[in-house]
Symmetry: D2
Subunit: 338 residues, 4 copies
């Protein structure tokens, strides 16, 4: 941590900061510039350094952090890629893995039909929503446990592991009974009670980036899960909210190489939410893989014009199959498979 003093800070104000640094158990390195005196805070101490407390001391202009605030998620402390097992393959490994299925599980027949279709096209896992976070209280909220049972039945038929969202800490045990991977959605990325429960579950977690969360915020939320000893965490870029309204969200493709450099966790991309219009899902899926994504999660529906949710961004099975072929070609171009 670095404390920058105001140009007119007094000797007393400077020594007050130094004393505080020492009282907190750290060492202070003084550096006097033409305008600003700068105090470097170094060493280790059981007392946490709270930037905010220093920033309000008299004579302090600003406080700058030097290190990243996440440890377990950081590649610096864990250089090797974390590989998360999924259906006999490894997310984060050489092969780009694709999770696919409908936004909402709508019926037993629907999910089994789609599970077969996405498996045939090459998907590694099945997605489907049982509990749905909806902006409106009047929208379909999911079939709940019944949908979980249908998902489990689809798994039995196809062998595809099940990825489904859990919206509340109290539901983690129930969802764990049926699902192979717990998805934490964008709106819950900073639901810390849920993050702790997901960590304690020791289940595999797919953590989606919040729509206005920074890359650092995302890794701090991953840190919550890792801090519970659960290392099977995948992070997912799904588009952020910006001024541009031509698409549902703005896919932050930059975040993919940035995340790959900052963390050892596998990085998944969700082109369906990232662009929100089915006709552009395929090019965005290609761009994600070209940028280095380890996996994709894609919405597929047999009849989008009847879907109870997200019909606008769902691929029909034949379009999904075509997308898979394209993704494979791009994966090979960047030295991977799919």
């Amino acid at each position: 941590m670095i404390v920058v003093m105001k140009p007119k800070a007094t000797a007393r104000q400077i020594s007050d900061v130094i004393n505080r640094v020492q009282a907190d158990g750290y060492r202070a390195h003084l550096s006097e510039g033409e305008q600003h005196t700068i105090i470097g805070v170094v060493g280790e101490s059981p007392t946490p350094l709270r930037e905010e407390n220093y920033s309000v001391m008299e004579g302090v202009e600003k406080v700058m952090r030097v290190s990243v605030p996440y440890k377990l998620a950081s590649r610096h402390f864990h250089p090797a890629d974390t590989l998360v097992p999924l259906n006999g393959a490894l997310m984060g490994g050489q092969k780009v893995l694709v999770i696919a299925g409908p936004c909402s599980v709508e019926s037993r027949d629907q999910i089994i039909e789609l599970a077969c279709a996405v498996k045939e096209a090459g998907a590694t896992a099945l997605r489907g929503g049982a509990f749905k976070p909806r902006t409106s209280p009047y929208s379909f909220q999911g079939y709940g446990e019944k949908a979980l049972q249908w998902l489990a039945e689809a798994r039995e038929r196809t062998g595809l592991p099940v990825v489904t969202e859990v919206m509340d800490a109290a539901l983690v045990p129930l969802v764990c009974q049926y699902a192979d991977v717990l998805q934490i959605g964008a709106r819950n990325m900073q639901n810390f009670t849920l993050l702790n429960a997901a960590g304690e579950s020791q289940h595999t977690i797919l953590l989606k980036r919040g729509m206005s969360s920074t890359v650092e915020d995302l890794l701090m939320s991953a840190e919550y899960i890792l801090a519970q000893g659960n290392k099977r965490v995948m992070v997912c870029e799904r588009g952020i909210r910006t001024f541009e309204k031509a698409t549902r969200n703005t896919f932050d493709v930059n975040a993919i190489p940035v995340l790959k450099a900052a963390t050892h966790l596998p990085v998944v991309a969700d082109p369906s939410h990232a662009v929100g219009l089915w006709e552009y899902v395929e090019p965005i899926a290609r761009s994600a893989v070209a940028a280095g994504a380890d996996g994709l999660i894609v919405e597929v529906h047999a009849r989008p014009e009847e879907a109870v949710s997200d019909g606008r961004q769902s691929l029909k099975p034949d379009r999904f199959k075509a997308m898979m072929e394209q993704v494979r070609r791009v994966a090979e171009a960047v030295g991977r498979t799919a």
Copy 2:
């Protein structure tokens, strides 16, 4: 709802849309322009209209919504201001009410000292965090129930009702035992399980806007609470996330008159989070009242340089007192009191 057909839509595609409209139980009004055929969907039906399903039909260019998606929160259906009782006064009434206190409850003595100070300065209610949502798992997470007890004790001493955050649906019953107002924080604005539980509790709710939520999103979340029959809801503007980093958030002061026009619910502003730097809390508090806010929620701490959270944006008691004086003058200038 209005369906805009593509310039080259065929007669068949147009009739397919019309048939679907009728099958859903509505009437279709056709309007043929030079480039686009437009289909107005009118009438009432038990079948909900899902824009997304129409938008993926062949020949459809886009679908535009005409009405707002919230009913209970809308001023159109409920023209009179909702007044929420607070400490013998009414939030949403003629007097601007101020809720004040520390970010975190840090000790019994701290909260009692601050409760007395903010009461003396004219606050109507006491805020204080018992359960704290923190970006980092390594930061102080709140004293939990112990802090709730201290808050209750501070209420006993001062008569100030207690406003405190609840982070998880499972904790609603516990927090209701101690608190007069449940705060739902920005990060949980779309935690729909929590919104439902807050609605069911029939407790007074202070609902903060998410940092990337639109005004419409905020009112949809209020709708969740209202849909449970709980009418004591206050909405709170606390700054949104933008590209500007000179301040912690960007206070969307526009949202205050926009909300006052769109909804009958009281509108509170949080200048502390909105700007994030104590030296600017006072002018931002003034601006909120000048724009028509019904209330304020402000962070106050006796020793910000020792605060376990949000020290950077906390006013000392004497600055808070000065702010109250300023707020009173501005409130009078706009025909209110404070």
Copy 3:
């Protein structure tokens, strides 16, 4: 400037940075932390310090700037408020000054009628567009010099000084012949050729913030004008572009106290563009004055339903008069006049 080395930076990489610092004519202060070695760069030298060049050196993690990059605009080097004369009053002084008039000058009669109306309501200066920046090439582009002549005639009648936009460096001499204040619009805030020409003109300048410019960017653009020896510069907050679409822009009211602290230049607010809907202009004008704005610039039109531009956000003269009354009351509440 502070150079933060990577955790595994070698002694050689560190000495390379130090050597470069010395070669550039500065001194290097070394501070060794547990993870990072930090190099403070202090002293003065004719060689400019380019952060980017250091940031790409081997072993460097990041480079952090300590000082603000503007000197002439900074309050640090010029603590006293700059007061800009306007119609016998001083922008930046005790009185809040209001500039008002139509978006576009549409006819001789229109501008004279409006000049009389805004003068009577208490405006200090007249605004009106002669050259109009329009998103569409098919929209009305302004009456050009003819409009400037009409503005000059309106000034003669009313005594109100004329504020009008100049869109291109080549037009600065022409606009200076007629206008008292040159406005540089949001879209041209980083048209550096225009900024230089505006500086050279030695005319009074009203510089509007770009819709995605930070406060620092705005002050850097002001620095261009000041660097030409032209000290009569007013900066103007007019709303920024964010994800929220309920209003035309998001008024960054935080920027007002931030600017007042960072610079000695007067700070004007434009509530018309900031909110974009006439029904909310009055509360936003009040909020700006409550936050400390030195002046306002407001769009007024006698028949907004016939305005060739910005009809949606223009106040009718009687509403403007009512707004002025409100602004006066708020100004007095914060110890000023209007």
Copy 4:
């Protein structure tokens, strides 16, 4: 255009709108819903329809536009791809074309050395800044005409056409003497005087998206150039400004397929500015091509640690060569060459 009346609009207000529609030379289609009366405006007339004028009429709730506001840039009116000749190839054709070179032209030797290097690696054209838009008046502003001469010399040596920025309408004739392609930078995307001059020049134009401009804004600016009869326009996505600060800008990769669908003009991507950190330029270049970009513009510098501008994002020639190899592989994966 569609006019939505307020729920309580009177018959008189409705007929006033209809009369205005007819007075403007259009036909009005009335559609009465449960809550809202909706008036569709159809037909053609020489009188332009100004939404704003209707939106302020009594009883009007909102006005919605149906058609896009650009005609010449729209793929609807011009379905075939526009192909822009560049060095014997065609931008917008089957081959992905790459423009490369330094941010600033720093010397005769530098630009010739880099021109040779990028040509050898497969670039189709040479970029280099002679006039530089810089945030700070104290930064290097470019060598001006001298740099243009050096660029011309580099073209003579290598045969690579020259792409360089023009910052002001008055300089268009000078830059046209030396450059093959005029670049209009992000900060000038809405400098309408410059757009008109660029259109009149009939030179090939590379138009960069402004950092807070929507896709529609970009196409409206292209429309300015096309409206002057100049059809050789390429549009360029170079990253937008968002809340995320881990990278210089946020590359809006979604915009690539959106632009390809909306316009017939070639779409270029600038991965250097889009991410701003050289280590991520290669993956972002790959993602752009995978999403369907017709071309790339990339910054290359032999010694980024000495570059006078943009050193942080410049590739060294060997890294550029490696990038070209990667881009070629991805281009082939999507059925193109590079």
